[in-house]
């Protein structure tokens, strides 16, 4: 085997490795186990290298790249537009880098070498950038814009290549155009990065607002309880006087009825058995009042200690979101009910919210999606719940039939 082939074969390994780095950076963890992933990349490497070394056809190479990238994107868990975006973004970037070096450096070995290693460096940068900012909540439309941008990138390069391949003399015009294209790309991504930044700030503000709402619900609850307690204290003296009289007169029936009335007053105070955890009770009471005002019947069982090491804000967010969804669904049907339970058994924390609903679900990408119209601002409730459950390495289960919907969560290691 000639040295030339070995050299080119080795450089292709660098190239494939760069592809792997940038794909995992953008698309995250692979869906399948490491063996399948490795063999997929290996297969792609073999096909690509064969075409490159023995067939030496640019168009075939390009086609192989684009199909290969798209196929590799299926190794990862993500939606279709992100897969398409990744394919075109990576292809466009590598083409720009490669053509630039091919025409800047006359020595084809050195050119190839530099192109592949700069591509690798580029991949690490992209991967670092994506991971550092943890870009998960970017709306799909941004991906679409960049994909279109990259498609045009590639189109420009292809068209120019086609034109310049027909020229006999070497021309410095072409690398100049590529270089300008590179600058344009950089500017575009800087602007894009800023746009993402402002979008993330908006998300943060929205999160802070949610936390504020939670705290406010808590404070309202405390305020309300204090007021009612003061009122009851005040009434107590008045309530005790008739009792003395009824006992003296031995009017047992009236006494019984009188006591039942007082007990009823007590049960109206705390709307249901509270958990004793302040943040949780705040949100439970506020959702209870909201649900009641929409005509929903509640049934609950709560038994939990207040010494859990689980962050009570997390519990409040979980219950708040699940109850919001439950209220939204139950209010749409005629028989409105919600049953929820928070209990500690056998060393685990069990949470469940069950509600009546109309049987219709919107499912996208194997996940339940919002039915509300304003898609970019809704649908984050269940996502937040899933994120929190994942944080504690717990289990989440969703079951439903035509008339009821149930979410159950188990959290382990609660102390």
């Amino acid at each position: 085997m000639s040295l030339d082939l070995i050299y080119k074969g080795f450089l292709n390994v660098v190239y494939i490795f760069a592809v792997y780095i940038v794909f995992s950076g953008i698309l995250g963890k692979a869906k399948y186990n490491k063996i399948i992933t490795f063999f997929s990349y290996l297969f792609f490497y073999l096909v690509l290298t064969y075409i490159y070394l023995f067939l030496n056809n640019q168009i075939l190479s390009f086609t192989c790249n684009i199909l290969g990238f798209f196929a590799l994107s299926f190794l990862y868990e993500s939606n279709l537009s992100k897969k398409i975006f990744t394919t075109f973004f990576v292809l466009s970037s590598f083409i720009v880098i490669e053509t630039l070096f091919m025409y800047l450096i006359s020595n084809s070995y050195l050119a190839r070498f530099s192109a592949d290693f700069i591509s690798l460096l580029f991949s690490f940068c992209v991967s670092y950038f994506m991971r550092k900012k943890n870009r998960d909540f970017i709306p799909k439309k941004y991906y679409r814009y960049i994909t279109i941008f990259n498609v045009f990138n590639i189109a420009i390069i292809m068209l120019i290549l086609l034109y310049f391949l027909q020229q006999k003399e070497k021309n410095y015009f072409f690398p100049l155009i590529i270089f300008i294209l590179l600058i344009m790309n950089i500017i575009f991504y800087i602007v894009f990065n800023d746009m993402i930044g402002s979008f993330e700030r908006e998300q943060n503000l929205s999160n802070i607002k949610n936390q504020y709402d939670l705290i406010k619900a808590q404070t309202d609850n405390i305020h309300q309880s204090t007021l009612e307690l003061k009122k009851l204290e005040h009434d107590l003296k008045n309530k005790l006087t008739p009792i003395a009289y009824l006992v003296k007169e031995e009017k047992l029936d009236e006494l019984n009825e009188y006591f039942n009335n007082i007990l009823e007053d007590f049960s109206k105070l705390s709307v249901f058995k509270e958990s004793g955890i302040l943040e949780l009770d705040g949100i439970l009471n506020s959702k209870y009042k909201l649900g009641k005002s929409l005509g929903i019947e509640f049934e609950s069982y709560i038994s939990i200690s207040d010494q859990l090491t689980i962050d009570c804000m997390d519990l409040a967010v979980i219950m708040g979101n699940l109850l919001d969804n439950a209220i939204e669904a139950a209010s749409k049907v005629s028989y409105k009910w919600i049953k929820f339970s928070i209990k500690e058994v056998r060393g685990v924390l069990f949470l469940s919210v069950e509600n009546s609903f109309d049987g219709f679900l919107k499912i996208k990408n194997n996940e339940i999606s919002t039915r509300k119209n304003d898609k970019s601002n809704h649908g984050y409730g269940l996502k937040s719940v899933k994120a929190i459950v994942e944080k504690y390495d717990g289990d989440l289960d969703i079951t439903y039939n035509h008339s009821s919907f149930k979410v159950r969560i188990i959290l382990y290691d609660i102390y």
Binding site: L263, F266, S267, K273, E274, S275, G276, I277, Y301, S303, I304, S305, D306, Q307, L308, K343, E344, V345, R346, G347, V348, F350, S352, D393, G394, D395, D397, R408, I410, Y412, D413, Y415
Partner: protein, 234 residues
């Protein structure tokens, strides 16, 4: 069924006893009720040899509390068969209470339904007590009370049956056993394990710990079973 009610408030004891008697008459179930006003008296009664199937235990007392009783029953005498229902006037519970594996938690003021619900749960468990498990070994049939079996483990083509006091091996497949058991107390948690839920002390993501600190592995394939079990307790 023998029931004990332990609360320093006589009125509470009377109310619960009335509810139990009404249920007993209506459903033709024999219920024998004893009242105690101090934890010390209940403990003394048990030490004297009395045993109960179900105990309604108040938590708040001036001297020995419901927690002390839980420690006596579960830790000192290691009795995990007696069902305990904790009654409390407070909002949240001390975490120690959960380690005593109560059947139910009731808060004051309570209503009749909660007492009845806990009673029926206990009656259901009692019903299970009399069941016997049989298997064949060397041509002979062996009888074991279901209540004493902690778990079944499949080892190649045999099954290891672990009871409170002994263990034994017999030929059977775990799948067949699972079908023939058909008992809500027994749960399949792994390809090789069926566990008696009465002996579960705590559950982990990958392992179940039994009363005698035995560890049973869980496989994700059966996590739904565990979810149903946790949901169904109480």
């Amino acid at each position: 069924m023998k029931v004990a009610i332990c609360d320093d408030d006589v009125a509470v004891c009377d109310i619960i006893e009335d509810i139990l008697c009404a249920y007993s008459k209506k459903n033709n179930v024999f219920i024998d009720v004893c009242q105690f006003y101090k934890v010390e008296s209940l403990i003394q009664s048990i030490e004297d040899g009395n045993s109960f199937n179900l105990i309604y235990q108040d938590i708040e007392f001036p001297n020995m509390t419901g927690i002390d009783f839980g420690e006596f029953l579960r830790v000192r005498t290691e009795d995990f068969f007696t069902d305990v229902v904790f009654i409390s006037g407070a909002n949240s519970y001390d975490r120690q209470l959960f380690s005593f594996q109560p059947l139910y938690f009731i808060s004051k003021p309570f209503n009749n339904d909660e007492i009845i619900k806990s009673l029926e749960l206990s009656l259901k468990k009692l019903d299970n007590n009399s069941r016997i498990f049989t298997y064949k070994k060397s041509g002979k049939t062996v009888f074991v009370p279901l209540n004493e079996i902690m778990f079944f483990e499949s080892i190649s083509r045999e099954i290891l049956i672990q009871t409170i006091s002994t263990k034994d091996l017999f030929y059977e497949s775990l799948n067949n056993l699972e079908q023939s058991l058909n008992n809500s107390s027994f749960l399949r948690v792994h390809n090789s394990y069926i566990v008696n839920t009465r002996f579960i002390k705590s559950i982990n993501k990958s392992v179940i710990i039994l009363e005698n600190d035995f560890e049973i592995s869980i496989s994700r394939k059966y996590k739904d079973n565990i979810l149903e079990f946790v949901e169904g307790i109480i």
